[in-house]
């Protein structure tokens, strides 16, 4: 399975991962459109990103969410009805949405571009 | 003596909110309890004691088709 592993203790909160992610998928550097979310709640950084658990697949009424051959949970937009149940039922809060960009939700597909951009290896793409 | 939804109920020392609900056979899951107009969170039903003379409201919320 391909997924993004996080090492919050290495994170320096430079924001490069979020810029890369939002730039890649929405053509603009905007942390609120990033699939990986870095916050600083006080005691160090917190990195939140999809762990490909698949809980969203179970609630999707149209089976628009599916696991691809690499084990990554993907959204087939042509099947999605934008109900956002997957957002409400994601155990880690990593299914995201932004009405200004698209009606469908979006999530990390473990492309690894953020990991490449990360200067401290706080994000690592794993294949296991 | 306390009152529960306007009806008297014998009070016993150490009586909790849950004891009151059991005594009234209130088994409904969606019950809100107020003691002397102060709400009691559901997760504190078994630990909150009801003082003697209290006015208890055990409000069954409507649900179902």
């Amino acid at each position: 399975m391909r997924w993004l592993k996080t090492y919050a203790e290495k994170c320096i909160n430079c924001g490069k991962c979020m810029d890369t992610c939002s730039k890649t998928y929405f053509k603009e550097e905007n942390p609120s459109l990033s699939r990986v979310v870095v916050t600083n709640p006080g005691a160090g950084q917190n990195i939140s990103v999809c762990n490909q658990c698949g809980a969203c697949m179970a609630v999707c009424p149209t089976e628009a969410l599916y696991r691809d051959k690499n084990g990554v949970v993907q959204l087939d937009k042509s099947k999605c009805t934008s109900c956002l149940m997957c957002v409400g039922f994601c155990p880690t809060g990593n299914m995201l949405y932004a009405a200004s960009k698209q009606t469908e939700p979006f999530k990390c597909v473990a492309c690894g571009l953020c990991a490449k951009a990360c200067p401290t290896q706080a994000l690592v793409l794993i294949n296991d | 003596m306390i009152t529960v939804n306007g009806e008297p109920l014998d009070w016993k020392p150490g009586m909790t909110v849950q004891d009151v609900l059991d005594a009234k056979r209130y088994t409904f899951r969606m019950i809100g309890v107020w003691i002397n107009d102060r709400p009691v969170p559901k997760n504190e039903f078994t630990t909150t004691e009801v003082p003697d003379g209290a006015v208890v409201q055990a409000v069954h919320m409507v649900s179902g088709g």
């Binding site: 179970a58 009805t81 934008s82 009405a99 | 939804n5 409201q57 409507v62 649900s63 088709g65």
Partner: protein, 721 residues
């Protein structure tokens, strides 16, 4: 299946949807045949909002004062409403149907989940109006993809619901994936003899690969379908999307929707468990509170048997872990199903089927109320009721009446054509259900016509005692009572019997608030609740929403931040509704406007009833609904009922049980009259229950033809001071 012959065909250009409305309605006369697309005026939107409001407005214009249910001008009108079809908020796929009911001779409105409501709107219509009578069995097909309306000659071999639905999903779909773009409205063979024929509205379950049925069960819509020789109505629309309603503010709609999805995710397991057991969680609760109808509402509990129908038993039978929403985005997911159920009797015997799981009402109606405590039997009866096209509630309550008449000796085994219809005698009761569908047995056909019909027919044909039947026949306005024992809650007498269309449970459920919480001590308090809740709940039917996500889940802090009476209204969810209505329509309503929007339609419908009943739209209540009728009912709760007498200053000692019953009845009949007057007054009606001219004016529904009805039947002496 062979290709069906096209009897008539029209083409149209589907109107685009703006802010929840297409502003077009479809009229089809299946008799002439004729098709017309009508415009929706701004006034129609402002006054009637949509859904049931549009249904009633179109029906009003279509019928005459004298129209009977089986006259060709009677219509079935179907509409979702402006919010119908949004996917972002749970419970937004409802379709509302209205028609002149065979049971009551006045308007009835009934609603269903499934995809018909949304798909018909996406096909271009805010409402669909069906009039006329076809000469032979037809299928109406609305093809929203191609902009085509067709009347097809039915070549269906089996007219029962599961067969019709499955066949037509297959027939109209190009492949398996296409089946979910179709919704079928069907009924069944029993609807040809019954007055409580139901309409089944389908959606295709892609995981189970079967069509699922939801019901607009009540009032006899299915009966009218068959009277019009409609075998099915089908809609197809394939270009499903996330914002087909073209809403004004998608951002807000998404945020409010996600908030509720999260709430359901976090709290449903500890609150109502709708996702695991649906409404069947109510069985044991209702029993505990003496509210579970048992043997024709004689009793409210049965401690010896309740364990057999505990929701835990049903939970094990329902297939778990499947998204069971009856429209996209319903995270409440209460549409339970029993997969791989092997049918034990009748024409489907031996077949393995997926049965849409019994709701609470059905568990009680085709269970405790007829003395049956066998979930597998109830599931089978549920299956056949849907399949044959009968409303499970009317069916159960009607059979309960029959069983009691039988046990009292008012009718005998000769009258029933050999069936031993004691409470709980499930084999013979199942046989009765099969006979209703076969339509050949005279007795079964009488049962199929409902309690009001039976009371008259049993008296005439079997010389059964009319007064006894009047006391125990649980109907109001001709409609069978749904499945809660209302005896001990005065407010619920109103919740059931002071309703627009008869004792269903979609106006007001006040039993806990009144009987247990003691929050409605005076007539004025009860009248206020009987004004607020029916109007609040009417709003769902105008905009196209399901009631359940309103109060079958509540925010974690609902009872902390709100005082008790406010908490019952779930203020945060009411605000959600205001927010999503505004997000879809851009209207800018406030909380208070919800009630006013509803009042317009509520009062219009009341005038409609007065019109159809030529001024005699009365609210009746059976004695059984007011308290014990026979000594065994009193004795089952002797201490409680003796106490009730003492409360009103009557000493029960020295009185026989019959005398006690009489005294309590007299008292409660007085209370009923008092309640009725308080409610009429609060609603702005006169002493005969007719909305006053001032009420019509205040609500802006003083259209000349509406005013004319009120003026025709109102007398000055009926005014309140």
């Amino acid at each position: 299946m062979e290709k069906m012959k096209v009897l008539a065909e029209w083409t149209y250009t589907p109107a685009p949807i703006e802010r929840g409305y297409t502003r077009k309605t479809l009229y089809v006369n299946v008799g002439e045949p004729r098709m017309e697309i009508k415009d929706v005026s701004q006034d129609m939107i402002d006054t009637f909002t949509g859904g049931r409001g549009f249904d009633l407005k179109l029906l009003w214009d279509a019928v005459k004062d004298t129209t009977k249910w089986n006259d060709p001008e009677n219509e079935i009108v179907l509409s979702g409403g402006p919010l119908c079809g949004i996917t972002q908020y749970p419970g937004a796929g409802k379709c509302y149907a209205a028609f002149i009911s065979p049971l009551s001779g006045q308007t009835y409105d009934s609603n269903s989940g499934g995809y018909w409501g949304p798909l018909s709107k996406f096909s271009g219509f805010d409402a669909v109006e069906i009039q006329g009578k076809a000469e032979r069995d037809i299928i109406l097909f609305i093809n929203g993809d191609e902009g085509k309306i067709q009347i097809l000659e039915s070549n269906l071999k089996d007219l029962n619901a599961y067969a019709v639905t499955e066949t037509l999903h297959e027939y109209f779909a190009v492949d398996e994936a296409d089946k979910r773009n179709i919704s079928v409205i069907s009924t069944g063979k029993a609807a040809e003899t019954s007055y409580y024929g139901c309409m089944n509205m389908s959606f295709y379950d892609t995981r189970r690969k079967v069509a699922r049925l939801k019901q607009a069960g009540r009032g006899g819509g299915g009966t009218i379908m068959r009277d019009k020789k409609i075998a099915a109505m089908v809609v197809k629309f394939s270009k499903m999307g996330g914002n087909l309603n073209n809403v004004v503010d998608l951002d807000t709609l998404q945020k409010v929707g996600v908030k509720l999805h999260k709430e359901i995710h976090d709290l449903d397991d500890v609150q109502c468990k709708m996702r695991k057991v649906g409404t069947a969680h109510l069985n044991e609760i209702m029993d505990e509170y003496h509210l579970l109808p048992t043997n024709n509402y004689k009793f409210g509990q049965n401690p010896a048997e309740i364990a057999k129908i505990h929701s835990a038993v049903y939970e094990r039978l329902f297939t778990q872990g499947m998204p069971d929403g009856c429209w996209y985005g319903c995270s409440m997911s209460c549409a339970k199903a029993v997969d791989g159920f092997t049918v034990q009797t009748g024409p489907c015997k031996g077949e393995k089927v997926t049965v849409d799981g019994p709701e609470y009402e059905t568990v009680a109606a085709l269970g405790s109320n007829i003395g049956v405590y066998d979930p597998l039997w109830t599931i089978e009866a549920n299956f056949y009721a849907d399949h044959y096209g009968m409303d499970t509630i009317s069916l159960g309550t009607a059979i309960a009446f029959v069983c009691e008449c039988y046990e009292l000796g008012l009718i005998n085994r000769n009258d029933t054509n050999g069936l031993d219809l004691k409470f709980g005698n499930k084999d013979d009761i199942m046989e009765l259900i099969h006979r209703m569908a076969a339509g050949k047995d005279e007795f079964a056909s009488m049962v199929a016509k409902g309690i009001r019909y039976m009371k008259k027919a049993f008296a005439e044909k079997f010389k059964a005692d009319a007064r006894t039947m009047e006391a125990i026949g649980m109907e109001g306005q001709g409609v069978e009572t749904s499945e809660y024992v209302p005896k001990e809650s005065i407010a619920q007498w109103g919740g059931y019997y002071l309703t627009l269309k008869g004792p269903q449970h979609d106006e007001a459920w006040l039993i806990f608030m009144d009987m247990v919480n003691k929050q409605l001590p005076t007539f004025e308090d009860k009248a206020e609740a009987l004004h607020y809740f029916p109007n609040f709940r009417t709003w769902f039917s105008l905009v196209g929403l399901c009631k359940l996500p309103w109060n079958d889940v509540e925010p974690a802090n609902n009872r902390i931040v709100n005082e008790p009476r406010e908490a019952a209204k779930v203020p945060e969810h009411v605000q959600n509704y205001v927010d999503i209505f505004n997000a879809v329509t851009g209207k800018g309503i406030r909380k208070e406007d919800i009630i006013t929007m509803s009042e317009k339609v509520y009062n219009f419908q009341r005038v409609f009833q007065v019109r159809m009943k030529q001024g005699e739209a009365f609210h009746n209540i059976p004695l059984r609904a007011l308290g014990p009728v026979f000594p065994d009912e009193w004795e089952a709760r002797r201490e409680y009922y003796d106490g009730k007498l003492r409360e009103i200053g009557i000493d029960p000692s020295g009185l026989s049980t019959e005398e006690k019953i009489k005294k309590l009845q007299e008292y409660r009949l007085g209370m009923w009259e008092g309640l009725k007057m308080a409610v009429y007054k609060r609603r702005g009606w006169n002493k005969k229950g007719i909305p006053t001219l001032e009420t019509l004016k205040r609500l802006g529904i003083d259209y000349p033809d509406v005013v004319a009805v009120v003026e025709k039947y109102s007398k000055p002496e009926d005014n309140f001071e």
